[in-house]
């Protein structure tokens, strides 16, 4: 009888959600502050960048601000030269993108249809900051995983 119960439990574990479904983004306060400051500096255009970390660590350690080549309030694309430089640095340092961030300047901090369609870093946390109701105080900062067109919001834990 005990054996039956055990195997049932094992079966439940197997069909449970993939582990990343309940991921948490743990990120330093200084990085969050840098992201918000960049968003405000580039307002009303969208600001974008990354926080990279050691491969496989899921730990955002090095903040890199990117130029939005589109300079647009509704679209962003990393400057292609800066992106190549970033990839070479990451390659040399065995790093990967842990966080991709961008701002929404007039809409909520939720991935747009364009964001979902173009997401190309499956391991990354997609962090969005919204300046739609910015009064100089706290602004919404949210994190998502985007995989095969599916958006999953995840908790953000900010470390001091």
């Amino acid at each position: 009888m005990g054996g039956a119960r055990l195997s049932q439990r094992a079966w439940c574990v197997q069909i449970g959600p993939p582990t990343y479904a309940r991921r948490v983004l743990t990120i330093a306060r200084a990085h969050v502050d840098a992201i918000i400051a960049h968003a405000r500096a580039d307002f009303p255009d969208e600001a974008c960048g990354v926080v990279v970390g050691p491969e496989g660590s899921d730990s955002p350690e090095r903040y890199v601000k990117m130029t939005n080549a589109e300079r647009s309030p509704t679209f962003f694309q990393f400057d292609s030269g800066e992106q190549l430089a970033l990839y070479k640095e990451m390659d040399a340092n065995d790093e990967e993108i842990v966080v991709v961030y961008h701002s929404h300047t007039f809409t909520e901090a939720y991935p747009s249809r364009t964001d979902i369609g173009l997401a190309v870093e499956p391991q990354a946390h997609f962090v969005l900051v919204s300046l739609a109701d910015d009064d100089g105080g706290d602004v919404p900062v949210r994190s998502f995983r985007i995989l095969d067109g599916e958006v999953t919001e995840e908790e953000i834990r900010i470390t001091e």
């Binding site: 969208e46 974008c48 990354v50 990117m66 589109e70 509704t74 679209f75 962003f76 694309q77 990393f78 292609s80 030269g81 992106q83 190549l84 990839y87 991709v100 961008h102 991935p111 747009s112 249809r113 364009t114 964001d115 173009l118 997401a119 190309v120 870093e121 499956p122």
Partner: protein, 90 residues
Amino acid sequence: MAVEVKIPTILRNFTGGAKTVEGDGDTLQQVIDDVETRHPGLKNRLVEESGLRRFVNVYVNDEDVRFTGGLGAPTADGDVVVVLPAVAGG
């Protein structure tokens, strides 16, 4: 010697997991066509009818080919082609 083509993680399913493949050609177009003969399916992810896909960055020796002739950009033995999916959104 040939042209070295660096493949991004997201497209390595076309190269059996290889980070780098080799191709021959005097232009980016020829290199891509040559690589396609050994890694079918890759070309469609890089090129559409009108040229390079909008959200794929291709560099020959660190120069974004959008500024150096697109698919007609010249290539030679020993050159390095880097393919990166653009990081973009709205």
